[in-house]
């Protein structure tokens, strides 16, 4: 396990991560993972994250070494799409039992690898470690090495047992497995000056194919997509690409950065969500490829494609403008890159509530991202009744979000659209953005809502569960407001940092007691904003609101 903990430390030290760069040494050592809260945690484990990141490799056999829970409860549950093999959707697991726990599961694992190769003959087998075999000391690296030699086939250990951390750590550990065992082990049949890697794109709902035709038209070849609709041979020879785009998420930043380091493949972080971001990304791809030796005329062709596609998309969205006039959207998301979605929705004539930014200029981009991230955190933390109250207060006509807020919205007869990863529609590129607007239109103007908002014949108007819920929340608020002691307790218990669960009172006390004046100081003492960092602006607000404190030691010195 020492090598695993070394890998985890290495991942935590990721210099490519902007958040990381802002942290102190001690903070960095603790890692970018928020402390999991027993009884209050949500989300997957590191194994889940590793599997999500690698499973979209379609021709690989993904073998999970563990008890039935890890694979039996989770297989074939992702909406990635494949243009070829369906082997990735086959669930393989050693399903270890009590005997294996006592005598060790390595033999069973080895036999399982053999059975898979005999029956399915995949180009490679990925073996995922889970908690129980990690506890009993099964050495999957050794088993994979032996199997690899014996069967003459790559057998790749993915060492990311669930209990080492959350999903995003698992993503990165999966990336480490690729870097250590896969990338650079094969050579492509041929190379071109237009060879590109996409990193961190999973082809959910086939959305990669909303963008790929444009790349094809420009003559840009996706040498390897890590990992959506990917193939083993492609990723194994991906070190010959000229440039790389890290799509959307920072999940695999370690792969992008280390490939730049080892193979000199420059990368940029981009997104295909939204019209503006799609255009920016295409330009950036062209720029990097030209820098690496592609003919300069690529840029002209790229600009032509961008101009054509933008015109088409805006024309398509333009049609919705009259229908959307005066309609309000509540957009709550931290996952999908929000800014360019915001821009497109505003362009379609929708008004956004939930962000204080009225018009999104480029300078507002960071601010909006921050706000949305914060809102997404907040809603995860909310009781359903409060969430409902927020929806009502926002007076929104439709809500766009992911996760558990959907049931509150829908049950309150509020139109809702899934923009998270489990969604069934593809929203990437220019066509994807038009599709999103189309879906909003469908949801908004469905005649069903009218009926659902009618009271049942036995209910009086205004005396339904919705209004009772609101009344309860209001009554609580009023009771608190009437009682100064409770009001102060309530004020102080407001959560400021959701990652580390730090409330306002704790921060105020720390500022008082320690005479803190900076966000860094507050972070050192209270851990607030030591997680995702999105609450930095709130901590700044708290600091600004506090009367300047002169510490008692300073006073003493003055006397």
């Amino acid at each position: 396990m020492s090598s695993l903990s070394a890998t985890i430390q290495d991942v935590f030290n990721e210099p490519g991560c902007a958040k990381n760069a802002n942290k102190s040494d001690a903070e960095r050592k603790k890692g970018c993972t928020k402390q999991l809260q027993p009884g209050g945690a949500a989300g997957g484990c590191a194994f889940d994250g590793a599997k999500i990141a690698l499973q979209p490799f379609t021709d690989v056999a993904h073998l999970v070494h563990g008890p039935i829970a890890c694979e039996g409860n989770s297989w074939d549950n992702r909406g990635a799409a494949s243009s070829g093999s369906s082997l990735w959707r086959t669930g393989f697991t050693t399903d270890i039992n009590e005997t294996d726990i006592v005598f060790g599961g390595e033999k069973r694992l080895y036999k399982a690898i053999k059975e898979i190769i005999d029956k399915y003959d995949p180009p490679a087998v990925f073996v995922y470690q889970t908690c129980v075999p990690a506890m009993i000391g099964d050495d999957i690296n050794a088993v994979c090495k032996a199997a690899s030699q014996k069967f003459g086939k790559p057998v790749i250990p993915v060492n990311s047992p669930g209990f080492v951390g959350p999903k995003n750590l698992g993503n990165k550990l999966a990336g480490e497995a690729l870097l250590e065992h896969v990338i650079g082990t094969e050579e492509p049949d041929y190379t071109t000056p237009y060879d590109l890697n996409l990193i961190g794109e999973y082809n959910l709902s086939g959305e990669l194919w909303q963008v790929k035709p444009l790349l094809d038209e420009l003559g840009i070849r996706i040498l390897s997509c890590i990992s959506g609709d990917g193939k083993y041979r492609e990723v194994a020879s991906s070190h010959r690409a000229r440039a790389a785009m890290m799509v959307c998420s920072k999940a695999m930043i370690n792969v992008a950065r280390k490939m730049e380091e080892r193979y000199g493949i420059p990368f940029f972080e981009g997104s295909f969500y939204g019209i503006q971001d799609s255009s920016d990304s295409l330009r950036e791809i062209a720029r990097l490829l030209i820098e690496r030796g592609a003919p300069a005329e690529l840029m002209e062709r790229t600009e032509a494609v961008i101009a054509r596609e933008e015109a088409r998309a805006w024309a398509a969205i333009e049609r919705y403008k009259p229908r959307f006039r005066g309609k309000k959207v509540l957009l709550i998301t931290g996952g999908v890159k929000s800014w360019s979605v915001v821009a497109a929705l505003q362009e379609a004539g929708l008004e956004l509530v939930g962000t204080s930014v009225k018009k999104s200029t480029r300078e507002d981009k960071e601010r909006i991202k921050e706000l949305m991230g914060q809102d997404a955190h907040m809603i995860d933390d909310m009781a359903p009744r409060e969430m409902f109250k927020m929806l009502k207060d926002a007076k929104a006509d439709i809500m766009l979000s992911g996760g558990k807020s959907q049931f509150v919205a829908l049950k309150a007869a509020m139109p809702w659209l899934d923009i998270n990863q489990e969604r069934c529609h593809a929203y990437m590129g220019y066509v994807g953005m038009v599709k999103l607007v189309e879906e909003i239109d469908k949801a908004l103007f469905n005649p069903m809502w009218e009926q659902l908002r009618q009271p049942a014949p036995w209910d009086n108007e205004g005396d339904n569960w919705q209004s009772r819920a609101i009344a309860q929340v209001d009554a609580q608020a009023a009771a608190i407001a009437a009682d100064p002691v409770r009001a102060e307790t309530a004020r102080r218990s407001k959560t400021i940092c959701f990652c580390k669960k730090v409330d306002l009172g704790t921060i105020e006390d720390a500022i008082h007691a320690q005479s803190l004046t900076t966000v860094d100081g507050v972070r050192d003492k209270t851990n607030a904003s030591g997680g995702c960092g999105a609450c930095k602006s709130r901590v700044e607000d708290v600091l600004a609101a506090m009367p300047a404190v002169v510490s008692s030691t300073v006073l003493q010195a003055a006397e």
Partner: protein
């Protein structure tokens, strides 16, 4: 008489089985104001949660003790304590149900002792309902988790009646197996009530996961049987257990309260429902209402209409033991041949399945058997979809999880009416498959050297 076999292979491919702890958590979801808590790493919970949410399309309460690597090695008392305190404070549940997982069982956490210690340390929790069940992932399956959990609920939550206490003969305890849907429970409730009986379902998923709009927003379950009602189950006249898996719980109830029980292994099909309805008439002292006399006639007629399509069908079925026994028996009674049967765990009903061999295996086994034995009807949960697509045979989804179609919570199999609708659904699938894929062509009966193109009857 079927022979039950277990596979020799090291690698399970396309698992049919799901793990025990989420079967246990599923049972807790049928209690009112409940928060199920898995003692394990947070992935254990999130995988189960995703399954439930996709199956029911509902918000589902399920929490984790979020065991880290270090906590796992050192023991999880702090995590269990913190989790319970957090849940108690934040969500104000009426009960917390705790299931262990593979990680914490491998370490050997003594959660019962943790709970004792915790009650001492936190007086506010002294009387708070906490039920713990040991459900390691590396043993048994989903159905076993449910079975153990319901039995444990009875042992912990049901009051022992006083010796002089009188039984309420109109009150019936109903212990449904995990193969019944919320829709099935509602159907049964109506039947009981039509006989003037007052049923208490333990657990009652129909109260919590039937997809209703809640009266109030709570972060715990939004319905189901209350802890107070469970406490008084000892006053009932009878306990009715449905599915062989519920024998353990029914025996626990009898041992604790003296309430006699009757076990119905099946409630799908004509004969099982005759026995059920006759029993209700007997214990209620009421004649069978006209409604059920008519429904019996409708079921008989449905069987007549559908036997043309179901008779002779070669069935491949993969399901947990009680569902497998129920559905395969009903179809065998309509003339289908059970050619391939795969299940997840041991059960006394397996050897009575009307086939030669029952395999405790996975969907790869089922697919191979179905292909080798030329099956032309597949029944499994949603994970059978890839198998069905490759075999190109009609596929009826039954059991948990059903994540790729709507209405999983309302699919019926119990009662005369439920059986009738199920028969129609399956027969219609067969008819549609014939229309889409097996229309006669001029060459269908072409004379070849191979002899007559009529499939000889293959009887086992």
């Amino acid at each position: 008489m079927a022979i039950v076999t277990t596979p020799k292979k090291a690698c399970a491919v396309n698992p049919l089985k799901m793990s025990q702890p989420i079967g246990g958590a599923f049972a807790f979801l049928g209690l009112r104001g409940a928060m199920p808590l898995l003692h394990g790493s947070q992935g254990c919970t999130s995988f189960g949660l995703t399954l439930f949410v996709r199956h029911f399309k509902e918000a589902v309460p399920l929490q984790t003790t979020a065991m880290s690597e270090v906590a796992t090695v050192l023991g999880g008392y702090e995590n269990v304590e913190q989790a319970i305190l957090n849940i108690y404070k934040r969500t104000k549940p009426e009960i917390i149900g705790i299931c262990s997982t593979g990680v914490t069982e491998t370490k050997g956490d003594d959660v019962e002792a943790y709970i004792k210690l915790l009650r001492q340390k936190h007086p506010e929790l002294e009387k708070f309902p906490l039920v713990y069940v040991s459900t390691p992932d590396f043993k048994d399956a989903f159905q076993d988790g449910w079975e153990k959990t319901v039995a444990r609920m009875i042992e912990v939550l049901v009051d022992v009646p006083e010796a002089s206490a009188r039984r309420d003969t109109a009150r019936v305890n109903v212990l449904p197996g995990c193969h019944l849907t919320p829709g099935d429970l509602d159907e049964l409730r109506t039947i009981f009530e039509d006989f003037g009986l007052r049923p208490s379902f333990l657990p009652d998923l129909a109260g919590s996961l039937d997809g209703h709009i809640p009266e109030e927003f709570t972060p715990t379950t939004i319905g189901g049987i209350g802890v107070d009602e469970i406490a008084t189950m000892g006053e009932a006249g009878w306990t009715i257990a449905i599915g062989a898996q519920m024998r353990r719980a029914a025996e626990a109830m009898q041992a604790r309260t003296g309430v006699p029980f009757r076990l119905f292994e099946r409630l799908c099909g004509l004969i099982p429902n005759d026995a059920f309805i006759a029993f209700l008439s007997e214990i209620s002292g009421r004649p069978v209402p006209l409604k059920y006399r008519r429904q019996r006639g409708q079921l008989a007629d449905a069987m007549l209409d559908a036997h043309f399509h179901i008779g002779g069908r070669r069935l491949a079925i993969g399901a947990e033991p009680d569902l497998l026994f129920d559905l395969s028996s009903m179809l065998a009674e309509m003339g289908a041949q059970v050619r391939a049967a795969v299940t997840t765990t041991q059960s006394p009903v397996l050897e009575r399945i009307r086939t030669e061999e029952v395999l405790i295996g996975d969907l790869e086994d089922l697919e191979e058997l179905a292909k080798a034995r030329d099956c032309d009807l597949l029944i499994a949960h949603s994970h059978g979809r890839q198998t069905a697509a490759r075999l190109k045979i009609p596929f009826y989804r039954a059991g948990f999880p059903m994540f790729d179609r709507l209405g999983a919570g309302h699919q019926l199999s119990v009662g005369y009416r439920g059986t009738r609708d199920l028969i129609f659904d399956i027969a219609n699938l067969v008819i549609a498959d014939r229309e889409d894929n097996h229309q006669p062509t001029p060459d269908t009966w072409k004379v070849t050297d191979a002899g007559l193109q009529v499939r000889p009857p293959q009887l086992h």
